[in-house]
């Protein structure tokens, strides 16, 4: 999982809230950490266990994104990181004697934190989302949503959805990848609510005798897990409970395959530089068949035979 957005939007806190464990050492109390001059990428890997099931979670944070005066091309390091992971997997796949289980460091989901301005998407948001949606599953969220009232949130959400339509930004769950009618119904409901308005907290407070995760202010306590307060639970359910496997599948079957096809086609040309954003739009045949696993495996073997 890759978290990205301007600093101070609660990315680190969100990870803690999502997994209810301190997977991330949050540096909020001490604001000593200066804004880095260039974008950096910090990855932390943790193994989390629930009911005997282990989940190896890798969370990558991107401090310094969008904080400078000139933010042109600040998305390049992120795109090159994502493509690097695809490249690593591709290299492992192309080996003559391959490992049984290739370590999968690919980014399955990118959560993009939109600042709660209440107006619309900023030019930086649009530039970034347009480029990212072609490479990875993107889930945009409205960060720090406790500064918006319910009406403001709805209006903001509608504006964002309109903006995404106008600029052809296709976020997860992608409409063209719905397999059958059930998927479509389920995903349409989700698509109406994206982006989720979330609030993160890692402290617990006592409210009406219950201990809840929340933020305590002088006028009330914002409960993170209360659906009337914010949509954190919807985000958590999407990322972990209902669509975790789907996110991985789409990354493997669609995004990774796109990358692979392009690389194999270019294998006669010079290697590309970092952050290559000009991915040719995938041909319709690629995108409409989300489960081409078997089909493309076969085609891969054919090319290998040809090369031999």
């Amino acid at each position: 999982m890759l978290l990205t957005g301007q600093s101070g939007l609660g990315k680190s806190t969100m990870v803690n809230t999502l997994f209810k464990s301190k997977a991330w050492q949050s540096n909020l109390p001490s604001l000593e950490v200066p804004i880095p001059q260039t974008l950096e990428l910090h990855s932390v890997t943790h193994v989390i266990e629930e009911k005997g099931l282990k989940l190896k979670l890798t969370v990558t944070d991107t401090p310094g994104f969008g904080d400078q005066i000139n933010n042109d091309k600040c998305w390049d390091p992120i795109l090159s990181y994502i493509n690097q992971q695809y490249e690593q997997y591709l290299q492992e796949e192309l080996l003559i004697t391959r490992q049984r289980h290739i370590p999968d460091t690919r980014v399955h989901c990118c959560v993009y934190f939109v600042p709660p301005t209440g107006h619309c998407l900023r030019p930086l948001d649009i530039e970034f989302l347009q480029r990212l949606c072609r490479t990875v599953n993107v889930v945009p969220v409205i960060a720090r949503a406790d500064s918006l009232t319910i009406e403001e949130r709805d209006a903001f959400r509608n504006r964002i959805q309109q903006d995404m339509n106008t600029h052809c930004i296709d976020v997860y769950p992608q409409k063209c990848l719905d397999e059958d009618i059930n998927d479509r119904i389920l995903n349409s409901k989700i698509r109406k609510q994206i982006p989720f308005a979330v609030v993160g907290a890692d402290r617990e407070h006592l409210v009406n005798g219950r201990c809840v995760l929340g933020r305590k202010t002088k006028w009330g306590v914002i409960e993170v897990e209360n659906v009337a307060h914010c949509e954190f639970l919807l985000l958590r359910d999407l990322l972990i409970r209902s669509h975790l496997q789907d996110l991985k599948d789409i990354t493997h079957n669609v995004h990774y395959e796109n990358y692979r096809v392009l690389r194999l086609n270019e294998s006669h040309q010079l290697p590309r530089g970092p952050g290559w954003v000009n991915l040719a739009p995938a041909s319709p045949g690629q995108l409409t068949s989300p489960g081409p696993g078997k089909a493309s495996r076969k085609s891969y073997r054919d090319t290998k035979d040809d090369e031999c």
């Binding site: 101070g8 804004i35 006028w219």
Partner: protein
């Protein structure tokens, strides 16, 4: 015997009547990234709807928007006192992907107002000088950042010697009390580190009462002000209707000092320091601009005279009154030279024609 009574104790009343008749004017600039609650705060501060027919541009329009300067004027009256308030807004600030030099139009605007005043002041008819100088700039800082961002620092650095700056944290209801304290301290430290001069509140007189002094000290402690704005009135059961923002977990009251610093800001800006802001603009910032301007106009040899006269305004007769900036004066001189040359040419032509005519006439006479 009764003490002699001359009667000038009534002077303040005379001043009061005169200023009330003249009216007050004030120019306030608001700057900061979009979405920080600037318009809402202005509406709350002055209880007017200055932004009634406002169209927030959508994302496609934003992609090509550059910084613009907008001026709105409104006349407010309260208790018989009229104030002509001019609001200068800077939509598009900080919006683009590349915000380099996006503050230059703002700096240019402020200096333009100074230049206009300088010209009016040096003019012949000084009866009705319109003061369009910016008296105060409310700069909005995002509550989500970790203090001042590079863009904030660049902007403040560019304008701090030209306008009174009051830093304000917008949308402060996104912060918990401890976070607000930490953020304020961080901003104060950064301002000191970057040597940015914000507006300094004058010390209150020693003969003021304790309450006032305490209030004053509290106000100074709470800079930058963490504000929340709202023009909606919330009617909660059991309490009187207040202006606030209604969330599902509680209501933020704009005028509650425990919730935010709105009252402090309003008191400071409108009740106690409005006049001081104008005076500082005139005596300090404008004079600084004027001195810089004059120094650049005078010839190098006479620079000593310029610096001496900066200290004592009485000796203005030694300096030629700068009617216009240097480039324009030169242009005028050149134009006048051109005209003179043309007129000379015409004169010569006419003379030549006359001579010819005379010569022809003589010839014809001779014939």
């Amino acid at each position: 015997m009764d003490k002699e009574y001359v009667g000038f104790a009534a002077l303040p009343n005379q001043l009061h009547r005169k200023s009330v008749k003249k009216g007050f004017d004030f120019t306030l600039m608001v700057a900061g990234e979009s979405g920080l609650g600037k318009s809402t705060l202005i509406n709350s501060l002055f209880l007017t709807n200055l932004y009634e027919d406002r169209q927030v541009p959508d994302a496609s329009a934003r992609l090509t928007q550059t910084l613009t300067i907008e001026r709105r004027g409104v006349e407010i009256e309260e208790g018989g006192i009229k104030v002509k308030l001019t609001l200068v807004d800077t939509p598009g600030f900080g919006d683009s992907v590349d915000c380099s030099d996006c503050w230059l139009p703002v700096v240019h605007f402020i200096e333009e107002q100074f230049e206009q005043y300088l010209r009016d002041e040096s003019g012949l008819n000084r009866k009705n000088i319109q003061d369009s100088r910016v008296h105060c700039c409310l700069y909005f800082i995002s509550p989500f950042g970790r203090g001042l961002r590079p863009l904030d620092v660049a902007f403040l650095r560019a304008v701090h010697d030209k306008v009174n700056i009051i830093p304000v944290i917008g949308k402060a209801d996104a912060l918990m009390p401890k976070e607000t304290q930490v953020l304020k301290q961080k901003i104060r430290d950064q301002l000191k580190e970057e040597e940015i001069n914000i507006y300094q509140f004058p010390e209150c007189d020693s003969d003021e009462d304790e309450d006032f002094k305490k209030q004053d000290a509290e106000m100074k402690e709470s800079i930058p002000f963490a504000v929340v704005g709202s023009s909606k009135v919330v009617k909660n059961v059991g309490t009187r209707p207040v202006r606030g923002r209604c969330y599902s977990w509680g209501t933020v009251e704009v005028e509650n000092p425990h919730h935010c610093d709105f009252l402090n800001l309003r008191r400071m800006l409108v009740q106690t320091h409005l006049q001081d802001l104008k005076e500082v603009t005139h005596d300090l910032l404008y004079e600084g601009y004027r001195a810089r301007c004059l120094q650049s106009l005078v010839r190098p040899g006479a620079r000593d005279r310029a610096s001496r006269s900066k200290l004592s305004r009485q000796s203005t007769t030694e300096i030629p009154l700068p009617m216009l900036p240097l480039a324009e004066t030169e242009k005028l001189i050149r134009e006048k030279d051109e005209e003179l040359r043309r007129m000379q040419e015409m004169l010569e032509k006419m003379q030549a024609q006359m001579q010819q005519g005379q010569a022809q006439g003589e010839q014809s006479d001779a014939f």
